[in-house]
């Protein structure tokens, strides 16, 4: 394949990652929330695979496969199961309304581009464009974290931030060393399992998944 197709494919998949983040912000139902996250992880995995092919770097293939298996299949399945087991209201009630949230996301994407300007200025690698996207995704993840108050949405927000960083790592350094990547996957899986267990306990104890009810500890 010529390098132009590569650039198109890489930029296209980067755009999909950004778009899915914005869909997450607009999403009102828990199940579609998890599904959108799965799509984002799939796009990220394919992104890694294309970079691996283009660079001829075998270790990124392993990372790509792990991303798709873990973040696009295993974790979403686990989260959907937990949602089904908990049987609570499935709607997300955002603290900030959807139109306002979308506006903020637009702003955050702009900030991502603005901030990454000095970092990507010197480089000429084809993936460097995606670094701006990755920053935007991290910022949108942080915004999701503070504006959606269900335990389940907070878990996904952390995963979105992680996805953004992962995209960033591939964009500016072609991924971390393999042993580190595998360790990070292990940590993410552990974190999601523990958070899932706690989401279950929160639901048992407070009879809601809304974490803004947790205000017993204060000075």
């Amino acid at each position: 394949m010529s390098s132009e197709i590569f650039v198109d494919a890489i930029n296209g998949l980067g755009a999909v990652v950004l778009l899915t983040s914005i869909f997450l912000v607009a999403s009102k139902r828990m199940v579609s929330f998890v599904r959108t996250f799965a799509v984002q992880s799939l796009a990220l995995g394919l992104f890694a695979a294309i970079v691996a092919y283009h660079m001829g770097a075998d270790h990124i293939y392993i990372v790509a496969v792990l991303t798709i298996a873990l973040k696009a299949l295993i974790i979403p399945t686990f989260l959907t199961r937990t949602i089904e087991r908990i049987h609570v209201k499935r709607e997300i009630e955002p603290l900030v309304g959807v139109p306002m949230s979308l506006l903020i996301c637009g702003g955050l994407a702009f900030v991502g581009y603005y901030v990454s300007e000095p970092i990507i200025a010197g480089g000429n690698a084809i993936t460097k464009n995606c670094f701006a996207i990755s920053l935007a995704v991290v910022l949108i993840g942080l915004f999701l974290m503070i504006s959606r108050k269900k335990a389940m949405t907070e878990i996904i927000a952390i995963l979105v931030i992680e996805n953004g960083l992962f995209l960033g790592a591939i964009s500016i350094a072609y991924g971390m060393p393999l042993i580190v990547e595998i360790g990070i996957f292990f940590d993410v899986l552990g974190a999601v399992l523990i958070m899932g267990i706690y989401a279950f306990k929160i639901n048992q104890t407070f009879e809601t998944l809304d974490t803004s009810f947790m205000r017993r500890l204060r000075d």
Binding site: P118, I158, M176, P177, I179, D187, I194, L217, D219
Partner: protein
């Protein structure tokens, strides 16, 4: 070889705790494991002292690492000994079931393992994984009592620390990106030794951005203000021995992460990292002093005191120079020992009075005189009164501030220390003196717990009065790891 044995011990004990039915045996095994870990850490220290840093595949142990390893294993030994009676009491009182008892031992060991990996890995990525691992391993310990408040604390802990730590990952990625341009895409481009050697060639803008993310990320775990919000919740809800581990050594481990990046940043862009640490240090001291004054829960008060002391250490690094760094390193040791003592004392108080409210605890001196004496002396030590260890390290940092011309910073620092002293003494004297709270039977709660507490108090007393020559030399060697302090 020694390091590998040291790392394997907690894992072996975790597996054995899972399979062995006899709980008393498991508890004493924990003590034996703690003792042998401490001995091995000291032996490793002697080896590093005579042969220089130990480097093997992904491991790297220099003077700083050994220093941290010794602190971790010593505190772990004290906590293991204390846990024997504390956990047995909880179990007898039906506070916890047999399953939780088992989980306690397993997770404490995994928690120790992750902390040991943090301070002995060469690869900054692996260090990141291990620091995130400490959060995962201790999350269950924070939510151990499964009450609504402990679940709330555990949730906040895991969410806030995970978000913080992802920012540190971003810092790590940027560092890696800047180092691959110099070292090429090798898997050891994230090794700390390589980064240190290549530091003069790294891109300064990258290093600055990376350090900001590292301080915010690992600073969340350290409990620097304004990222400290999880800390008082988690430290007050966890079982007291776990609070002791978290305050005494976990915070140091996270700080260790910052120090490694501080060194790299100091080689390339001198002055940038210290300024940042100075700001966070003063802010932490200020906010912690305020919350200590108004606290009503004595475990939260101690948690805020940890924020304060992390602020002091951060200030030491912010002032920098041979004295500042010496003082900061020294203060880490003093804080670990003293704060462990304090949290172990509160374990006895909580089990005796069944409350964490300062207002509901009165007359400790009559109810349990030995714990009360240890608690009072510990409180004097933690607020920096002579003749205890923390007094010395706080004075060294003050001296550093004065001799490097940081007069305003030093004045604010000393004033805040006075405020903390007053607040602490007010709360503690209310608890120790006066007529005992009604309905509380007299007598120490468990005799065994007094042994580790007395050892801890004597250690800080010995440091404070005699300040062994060896310790000064050790600290000087440790401080030499940081550039500009030799």
């Amino acid at each position: 070889m020694l390091l590998e044995v040291l790392l394997i011990i907690p894992l072996v004990i975790a597996v054995l705790s899972y399979s062995i039915k006899n709980r008393a045996l498991v508890q004493w095994m924990m003590v034996a494991g703690g003792a042998s870990s401490f001995v091995i850490a000291v032996l490793l220290g002697l080896e590093v002292w005579s042969d220089g840093p130990y480097e093997h595949s992904i491991w790297y142990v220099d003077q700083l690492s050994v220093y941290m390893l010794c602190i971790i294993t010593f505190v772990a030994l004290m906590v293991a000994t204390y846990s024997v009676s504390y956990i047995r009491h909880d179990h007898e009182e039906k506070e916890i079931g047999t399953r939780q008892l088992k989980m306690y031992h397993i997770f404490v060991q995994i928690f120790l393992f992750t902390m040991l990996v943090v301070v002995s890995s060469n690869n900054m990525g692996i260090m990141w994984i291990a620091i995130e691992g400490t959060t995962l391993a201790s999350a269950f310990l924070v939510g151990f009592y499964e009450k609504d408040t402990s679940i709330e604390a555990a949730w906040k802990y895991i969410i806030i620390c995970s978000v913080g730590i992802t920012l540190a990952l971003f810092g790590t990625i940027i560092t890696y990106a800047s180092s691959t341009e110099v070292l090429g895409e090798s898997s050891d481009a994230l090794n700390w030794t390589k980064l240190r050697d290549a530091a003069p060639l790294l891109e300064p803008t990258f290093l600055k951005i990376a350090f900001i993310f590292i301080v915010i990320g690992y600073g969340t775990k350290v409990g620097l203000v304004p990222m400290h919000t999880w800390l008082p919740d988690a430290h007050s809800q966890a079982p007291s021995p776990v609070s002791a581990l978290m305050s005494g050594v976990l915070l140091n481990c996270a700080f260790y992460g910052i120090i490694r990046y501080y060194i790299i940043s100091e080689i390339r862009v001198p002055g940038f990292a210290p300024d940042l640490m100075l700001i966070f240090g003063l802010l932490s001291l200020f906010v912690a002093a305020f919350f200590i004054l108004i606290s009503r829960d004595f475990k939260r008060m101690l948690a805020y005191s940890s924020v304060e002391h992390m602020g002091i250490i951060s200030l030491g690094f912010g002032i920098g120079g041979p004295l500042g760094i010496f003082g900061a390193m020294f203060h880490m040791l003093n804080h670990s020992l003293t704060k462990t003592l304090m949290f172990l004392c509160t374990g006895n108080v909580v089990q005796k009075y069944n409350t964490r409210e300062i207002g509901e605890v009165r007359g400790m001196a009559t109810v349990m005189p030995i714990t009360a004496a240890l608690f009072l002396l510990g409180a004097l030590a933690i607020t920096g009164s002579p003749p205890f260890g923390p007094f010395l390290s706080e004075i060294v940092i003050m001296q550093a501030g004065l001799s490097y011309g940081r007069y305003i910073v030093t004045t604010v620092y000393v004033l805040l220390l006075v405020v903390v002293f007053a607040g602490f003494m007010y709360h503690v004297s209310r608890m120790v003196f006066g007529e005992p709270t009604e309905g509380v039977t007299r007598g120490e709660i468990h005799k065994l717990s007094l042994v580790p507490m007395t050892i801890l108090l004597s250690t800080i007393l010995v440091i404070g009065i005699f300040m062994p020559e060896e310790l000064t030399n050790i600290l000087r060697e440790v401080a030499k790891v940081v550039p500009g302090s030799g």
